[in-house]
Symmetry: C2
Subunit: 405 residues, 2 copies
Amino acid sequence: MRIPKIVILGAGYGGLITAVRLQKQLGVNEAEVVLVNKNDYHYETTWLHEASAGTLHHDRVRYDITSVIDRHKVDFVQGTVMEINKEEKKVVLENGEINYDYLVVALGGEPETFGIKGLKEFAFGITNVNSSRQLREHIEYQFATYNIEEEKKDERLTIVVGGAGFTGIEFLGELGNRIPELCQEYDVDFNKVRVICVEAAPTVLPGFDPELVDYAVAVLEQKGVEFMIGTAIKECTPEGIIVSKGENETMEIKAETVVWAAGIRGNSVIEKSGFEAMRGRVKVQPDLRVPGFEDVFIIGDCSLVINEEINRPYPPTAQIAIQQGEVVAKNLTALVRGKAELENFVPDIKGTVCSLGEDDAIGVVYGKKLTGGKASIMKKVIDNRSLYLVGGAGLVLKKGKFNIL
Amino acid sequence: MRIPKIVILGAGYGGLITAVRLQKQLGVNEAEVVLVNKNDYHYETTWLHEASAGTLHHDRVRYDITSVIDRHKVDFVQGTVMEINKEEKKVVLENGEINYDYLVVALGGEPETFGIKGLKEFAFGITNVNSSRQLREHIEYQFATYNIEEEKKDERLTIVVGGAGFTGIEFLGELGNRIPELCQEYDVDFNKVRVICVEAAPTVLPGFDPELVDYAVAVLEQKGVEFMIGTAIKECTPEGIIVSKGENETMEIKAETVVWAAGIRGNSVIEKSGFEAMRGRVKVQPDLRVPGFEDVFIIGDCSLVINEEINRPYPPTAQIAIQQGEVVAKNLTALVRGKAELENFVPDIKGTVCSLGEDDAIGVVYGKKLTGGKASIMKKVIDNRSLYLVGGAGLVLKKGKFNIL
């Protein structure tokens, strides 16, 4: 008798949790499990702002996939997914094809540039290990070049961060720590450096408690960040950005570094594969399966789950991806064992903490507002927890954050 | 009675040795000594190939000038020299003017590009701290960017070094150590990296013992360096270089990093100030004074001293600059004390060692040929000696090289 084949696409938070849970729950002879990922490593997406600013080495934000999977139970295939053929139940990779009985799509998101001209070409992203270390190197190169030029170009020392959402604010917090170091490393006058956050929405961190938002803005302003709120980026150019000013006017901000941290959408593979989706995100059933395709689960940034309380989608977070991975693993175990009853995914939002650099943060945890050192410690606890869920105490010891004051 | 004012321009090897010797030899009331330098630090020019490759941090190759001068005896002025008015006996700085009774010109050299098109604009230099750290950052940025591009540009991983003289070869030796590290840091395949040394002369390290040259070439080739000897660079472009091939043909080598390490000339201030000079170098009297200007000494890269044995100028080295500084300090002491008899400068070439990376080198020391570990240790001894001569054992302890096997 052939045992069912489960294929998991993506080793981000959702996919990796699914894999490690399945290897615990299923016996070797119950199912064949294949994990497919572009890289041979997993990275902590929620730590990339640190690798991008240069406050944490990129090797600290990633670990080998084979170090956390049980190779007797899970096969790992390194490959880039091009398309899912859901009728023929197979996945097309750049170099090959894999058939499946059950599929878990956990491919992660992509930056959403909302059609703003030039962003794709000229802005840097905090998207993955490659983009983060390129951004870090780019900033260092600008600082290294400033002194060598006879005619000083102050725009080399200007960093524009597009977006005052979670990623933008956390990145600004790290820059606040990093820039004094860069000034010392490259003999640059701190007063010449400008860090400008441009956000189209009327507030920083929309959806966050206003009192905490005020705290965050005050902390970042004290670190030298300038905020341009309610200001839309019209265009990104090789020289900087053009923003709207008033009704019909525009203004240029010269900056050698523009970072786009404002939007995320689902994976383009979703659309290429013909799933019904909004910006690459599929509205899944409560059991996380795709309506009409009972053998396909979608989790993480490619899934859309509505928060009934406010009738809006939950934001795509690591917390939700991890919880979805746990539910999918349970549901797959049930299906493999011939049970028809599946569990529904009900998000359990324990809290949200947004870091503001090395030792400061804001957050709401179990309904309680936190700022400063306490929030910062809580942030590190959360970061360590995602390691624990995947790789246990061993992984926490290897990759965890212990610089707790 | 007014005491004479001695102004020293430049705090490189020659100028700094002059200053520290004068502060030992002269009493506070014998002369006023002013040291002028562009930066507030001295850097070890002969270590810049390490800072450029990224094998030694640039802060290790420099130290504060005020940490080695006695401020009761020597005034330090940070400023950029624009011109010397030798008739009016004054030095024009970017922000000010200084009069002198005696002047020591120790301004150091500048890269000589021999009029090769594009070199000035598109090639990197191993010239000072600013240029070295920019080069290091540039190489890192190329490696960081390689993986992120969908269409891989292998020229990002190609480094052309123009010149197989001392600086070029030492830089290649460091790259040999650094490139495996860069490959690991940025997940780049070592086999994709190319390091090409292009030299117009018919041999590597002209003037060096042929047996040692063969050793150096073999070591570097084993580290992956390709040599194109007897090949002239015709032009440097934003895409790479164009070299001559045969009589009339040319060939393009695509490379995102081109380093010009082939030529050095004297300082352009020499010509601006109307000194009679060849490529910015003044043929000085045996006592290191300028013919016709008995109050001006020129030492280091701006001075030209003929080696009578072979009727060719001595190469501009740290060893010679240091020895010249010692002689000038003695001669100034004599002049200040009203003695007419000055000492002549006679170079005492103790040896030359060219490093080939962390633990390998070639050299001739006291007439004896050395290779490998022994030569490498000797190189570090030489490096530490220049620190010792300026700042004594304390400076050696602070900045010296002790990674001796």
